[in-house]
């Protein structure tokens, strides 16, 4: 079964909404990490005494979801809808190829033979 890795960088405050939206689509498995990031626009430029100071790194959540290739578009659309606020910093979604996915726990609950 062909899989894709969908990696979404979202704002932390939108995590619950994104998660719920994905659940509604039947997507459960995911790995989440705390990251910091900035977008193409050089981050945000804060005005400070006239000068503009670029601000680089803003806390974000990174979601990695391994999904069936056929689901990738649905997942992207779902995240996009749920993570959207229309303000700077809404995030990015990357799709990367996955060659294999292995579950550590064998389903018959016996240790893998050596």
């Amino acid at each position: 079964m062909a899989m894709k890795m969908v990696t979404a960088i979202i704002r932390p405050e939108k995590f619950e909404a994104v998660k719920r939206a994905l659940e509604e689509q039947g997507i459960y498995g995911m790995t989440v990490s705390e990251v910091r990031g900035r977008g193409e626009q050089k981050g945000i430029a804060l005005k400070y005494r006239g000068r503009a100071i670029p601000v680089d790194l803003i806390p974000k959540l990174r979601l990695d979801l391994a999904v069936r290739s056929g689901d990738a578009d649905l997942v992207i659309r779902t995240i996009k809808r749920a993570a959207w606020t229309g303000k700077f910093g809404d995030g990015r979604i990357f799709v990367m190829p996955v060659e294999s996915v292995t579950k550590v726990r064998t389903d018959d609950a016996k240790p893998p033979e050596r």
Partner: protein, 398 residues
């Protein structure tokens, strides 16, 4: 009467304990906000304390405790601490001054709840100076100086009205003026570091012994009573809030510690007037009242972000009323409602409501004034980036 070394030793240490409550508030609040505003909450607490420390020495203490002008405010006799002596009765006058100073600093730190994650530091400093001068100092004068509340016979042992009603309702007014955080209601804005909140809460509980017992201004039976009822009320508040939140779901630690703080707030005005068994009632009800207030605030969509209103404001209000109910002459010389003294009960309500109205109204005006001149709030970009970077150029992580 000369200085008593035991009393002096006690109040000196109590003053240190109360000082520690200010960074305690910073930690408590700092754990509750998003990571990007952690330093901001801590820095606001320190800045509040430093600014008020100087204001108090320059003229704040005088406004609160110098001879009365019209029941409303003190004159400037003690400005620059002129005439504040290292001698005194029981404890030096100067020790009373510094003991009161640490209360004033702490109170402004509590107020930061209402502007968390969105206030401009510079405007907060200006607001803080005005607020301490125009809200805190008069209230301290009313209740503890020669002001009208004291003349009326209103009881506020350690600051339920002066510190907690005032800061809680000021935070509410501030929150109304500054407006909700971006995304409030739409996003989930979650506490980023609950253990720090619990550590802050521990420092508060610890320091509160100095706050309440020290308000006896002597190391005597009254101080012991205040210490004992403080702990009992805190424990009772801890357990009732925990239980109430348990009924609605799981017993969270934020509710637990908030209940403890609620119990501490509620007993504050009463600590020198009620006995240990009444303290169980005051604390237990305090936990429930404040939890209810929090639920109400959330339902109303109010972004008084860190619940100074629910816990300090409403807890202080309950405490003022509770003092009027449970006071017993055997402890503090005055009976309350359940011992047949309904007039004390009425006085308590009048004083509490007056303080509430005064603090809320004047804060509203001051906040509006600062907002219209300097702007109270950072830009939306800065709020998104977080105050740590935007206001302080620093980052709590990494």
């Amino acid at each position: 009467m000369a200085i008593d070394t035991g009393d002096t030793a006690f109040i000196l240490i109590c003053a240190a304990l109360v000082m520690l409550m200010t960074p305690g508030v910073g930690l408590f609040y700092g754990g509750l906000v998003r990571r990007k505003n952690f330093i901001s909450m801590l820095a606001l607490a320190f800045i509040a304390f430093a600014v008020v420390s100087l204001q108090w020495v320059l003229f704040g203490y005088s406004l609160a405790f110098a001879p009365d002008i019209g029941g409303f405010i003190g004159n400037l006799d003690y400005a620059l601490l002129r005439g504040v002596s290292l001698e005194g009765e029981g404890i030096p006058d100067m020790l009373f001054m510094i003991f009161q100073l640490v209360f004033a600093g702490l109170t402004l730190a509590i107020v930061t709840s209402g502007v968390a994650e969105r206030v401009k530091v510079s405007s907060f400093i200006v607001f803080g100076l005005l607020w301490t001068t125009l809200v805190y100092d008069p209230l301290a004068h009313w209740a503890w100086g020669e002001g009208w509340m004291a003349q009326l016979g209103a009881l506020d042992f350690a600051g339920g009205t002066v510190v907690h009603i005032s800061s809680g309702f000021a935070a509410l007014a501030l929150a109304l003026v500054i407006g909700r955080r971006v995304g409030f209601g739409a996003y989930g804005i979650e506490p980023h570091n609950i253990p720090m909140t619990l550590l802050g809460g521990a420092l508060l509980w610890f320091g509160w012994f100095g706050f309440n017992a020290g308000s006896a201004l002597a190391a005597d039976g009254l101080a012991v009573n205040a210490f004992v009822v403080t702990n009992i009320s805190a424990a009772a508040g801890t357990l009732t809030w925990l239980a109430a939140s348990w009924i609605r779901g799981r017993p969270g630690s934020i509710g637990m510690i908030s209940g403890g703080i609620a119990g501490l707030v509620a007993i504050t005005p009463a600590a020198g007037f009620v006995d240990p068994i009444s303290a169980i009632a005051i604390g237990a009800i305090g936990g429930l009242v404040c939890y209810g207030a929090l639920l109400l605030r959330v339902r109303k969509g109010l972004d008084e972000s860190l619940d100074a209103w629910a816990v300090h404001g409403m807890g202080g209000l309950w405490g003022a009323v509770g003092t009027g109910i449970f006071a017993v002459a055997a402890i503090g010389g005055i009976d309350g409602l359940i011992y047949g003294n309904a007039s004390q009960f009425a006085i308590q309500i009048v004083a509490a409501l007056a303080a509430l109205a005064y603090a809320f109204t004047v804060t509203l005006i001051l906040a509006k004034a600062v907002d219209m001149t300097l702007g109270l709030r950072v830009s939306e970009e800065e709020e998104y980036v977080g105050l740590d970077i935007a206001q302080h150029g620093e980052s709590a992580q990494g």
